[in-house]
């Protein structure tokens, strides 16, 4: 079935030439231009054509994309199944709310959100460093439940189970109560996050994360600092999620504990798996799924379908299409190219 002989090679070692391989296959100029054009279109079209409600949804998609990108790094790339991603979002959202309601500027809020997220990420990372699989997931779940408990029992500060109204985020001239500005406010950090994760793909840190996911033995054998890598992955995920939560609060105008509970974390996982846990595009697809699909099902009168479909898709996609929708699309495109 598989060949067991070595591939043919030159009998003399060939000097390394200018055409030696880069880390990724080089894309043609045309490909790059297409991608850039597509990107600009995707960004500009909503800004120019969407009605207010859709812009508002698009803004939320952008916010959630930051969270799903974080989970992509932590789970898709480093292999740590965390059920606390929504918890990190909540930490960011409530930090933003508490500071915003006391009149602090957005920059102060952002700094605080990052600080709190870093602490939260470290708090979750430390107990999980030597864990994997279910034990890891359970510790993250436990942290999530503890956070939910704290929210409910600090009603004076957080509004408890009733939730809290969050002041719309205002950064300079951009006021999130205007849909177009909400969209821009969500989009810009999301683009930064996207660029960061794309860059990660070409760094040594990015490779370390992959090896930690795929083979701890090989990671040890190559000298990869496993613990440091896991901590960094958790911190990236928590900061991304914290910022996402903060933006979500400022755009949505309201936060409440159910937005950040275990199910929210599971839905984030669903989104990431459906989109494709290893791809940046997959994270965006997942974010769109989280924001748009519940709206669709609510409009159809069967809101329960979101959980139902989500659960079914998570099981099916994980089993049958491990690279998610994006992976399926890519292999379909590759097949088309081969037969063309």
């Amino acid at each position: 079935m598989t060949s067991t002989s070595l591939p043919v090679r030159a009998t003399r070692p060939v000097a390394v030439t200018v055409t030696a391989a880069e880390e990724k296959p080089t894309r043609s100029r045309r490909q790059v231009l297409l991608v850039v054009a597509g990107l600009l279109a995707v960004i500009a079209v909503p800004a120019l054509t969407f009605p207010a409600f859709w812009l508002f949804l698009a803004a939320q998609v952008a916010a959630y994309a930051i969270a799903t990108l974080g989970l992509n790094v932590l789970y898709g790339r480093t292999g740590q199944l965390s059920l606390a991603q929504a918890t990190f979002m909540g930490a960011g959202a409530y930090t933003g709310y508490v500071l915003g309601s006391r009149g602090h500027a957005p920059l102060v809020q952002l700094l605080a959100v990052c600080a709190v997220s870093l602490v939260a990420g470290a708090v979750v990372a430390v107990p999980t460093l030597r864990l994997s699989g279910l034990r890891l997931a359970l510790v993250t779940l436990a942290v999530g439940e503890l956070f939910a408990w704290v929210l409910v029992h600090t009603t004076d500060l957080t509004g408890g189970t009733q939730g809290a109204n969050v002041e719309p985020l205002v950064v300079g001239p951009l006021d999130a109560s205007i849909p177009l500005f909400a969209y821009l406010l969500g989009l810009l950090p999301a683009l930064v996050a996207t660029a960061l994760v794309l860059h990660l793909d070409r760094t040594q840190l990015g490779r370390r994360m992959l090896l930690v996911r795929d083979s701890e033995l090989a990671a040890r054998a190559t000298g990869v600092p496993i613990i440091q890598t896991k901590i960094v992955a958790f911190l990236l995920a928590s900061v991304f999620a914290g910022v996402a939560g903060w933006l979500y609060g400022g755009i949505n105008g309201f936060v409440s504990p159910p937005d950040f509970n275990l199910f929210a974390s599971v839905y984030l996982l669903v989104a990431v798996v459906i989109g494709g846990a290893r791809s940046v595009l997959g994270a965006w697809v997942g974010a769109a799924y989280i924001v748009v699909v519940p709206q669709v099902f609510t409009a159809l009168g069967i809101p329960n379908l979101y959980a139902l479909v989500g659960g079914a898709l998570l099981a099916l996609v994980a089993l049958l299409a491990p690279d998610g929708l994006v992976g399926l699309a890519r292999s379909a495109a590759a097949r088309v190219r081969r037969t063309a």
């Binding site: 598989t2 060949s3 067991t4 002989s5 070595l6 591939p7 043919v8 090679r9 030159a10 070692p13 060939v14 390394v16 030696a20 391989a21 880069e22 880390e23 990724k24 296959p25 960061l196 860059h199 990660l200 070409r202 760094t203 040594q204 840190l205 490779r207 370390r208 992959l210 090896l211 996911r213 795929d214 083979s215 033995l217 090989a218 040890r220 054998a221 190559t222 000298g223 990869v224 600092p225 440091q228 960094v232 290893r278 690279d323």
Partner: protein
């Protein structure tokens, strides 16, 4: 340890409870040579590799790289000192490309700060170029240039084995330990592998320890051989001499080859 060190093993014992995988083994692995480790299954060959690289605890005795005692060193420290191993079962990042898998082998040569990597600070492009050159060189040597961007799980078994060997060799370690690198390869594959390893050894001057079952390959590749059986050293010397030793033949074939069947 820049020049290839010799490995001195004195009274090494590796025990798991009552079971002694290696029993008071004393042997010298000469610096800069290719040494084969042979023996039947369960002889302790992989355990020896694990002990040298730090993947298993040592119950007694010592392991020295030149004059330095390393038996208490962590895996990480030994890897940093240039002791790099391959595994019996290929352990790769299946969904990543050959290039990515090989690049990760350079981990021990550079430890850039996390922040520097994240931000892509200056200095990164130059070291990236160096890394890519090193990776390309070893990929070239192992004949994998044609598949450099392919996902490893799409490759035939022989190529996947070679990718792991490439990962071991890319950082030019001073001590290379390979565990049955030819397992699953056909005759032509084994010849090629021996040729490649000989060439690499000639160019890099490393100390190479190769655990192997294939008698022919060991004789072709190795300058020196150790024969283990049940955790003991039963013979050492040039491969031809080792395989001619009656004890080794009994261990391998159940009887001495000279004796009537």
């Amino acid at each position: 340890m820049s020049a290839a060190p010799g490995i001195s093993i004195r009274d090494l014992t590796v025990a798991y409870g009552a079971f002694r995988a290696i029993e008071e083994l004393t042997v010298d692995i000469p610096a800069g040579r290719i040494v084969g480790v042979v023996g039947p299954n369960g002889a302790g060959k992989t355990t020896l590799l694990n002990a040298i690289t730090g993947f298993t605890h040592v119950s007694g005795g010592s392991i020295h790289l030149d004059e330095v005692a390393v038996q208490d060193w962590s895996v990480r420290r030994r890897v940093g000192a240039g002791v790099v191993r391959g595994f019996q079962t290929v352990r790769l990042m299946e969904r990543e490309s050959v290039m990515t898998n090989v690049l990760v082998g350079l981990e021990r040569t550079r430890q850039p700060s996390v922040l520097a990597q994240l931000l892509g600070l200056p200095g990164q492009p130059r070291s990236r170029r160096r890394d890519l050159d090193a990776a390309n060189a070893v990929i070239e040597r192992l004949g994998l240039t044609g598949v450099v961007h392919q996902r490893v799980d799409a490759l035939p078994f022989a190529s996947r084995r070679l990718v792991e060997v490439a990962r071991v060799l890319v950082s030019r370690p001073s001590v290379v330990l390979l565990d049955e690198p030819a397992a699953g390869l056909d005759q032509a594959g084994r010849h090629e592998l021996a040729a490649v390893l000989t060439q690499v050894h000639a160019e890099d001057g490393c100390t190479m320890l190769v655990v192997e079952h294939d008698v022919d390959l060991v004789q072709r590749l190795c300058q020196h051989a150790l024969a283990l059986d049940s955790g003991h050293l039963i013979s050492e010397g040039p491969p031809a001499d080792v395989f001619a030793t009656p004890e080794v033949q009994v261990a391998y074939f159940g009887r001495s080859l000279d004796a009537p069947a």
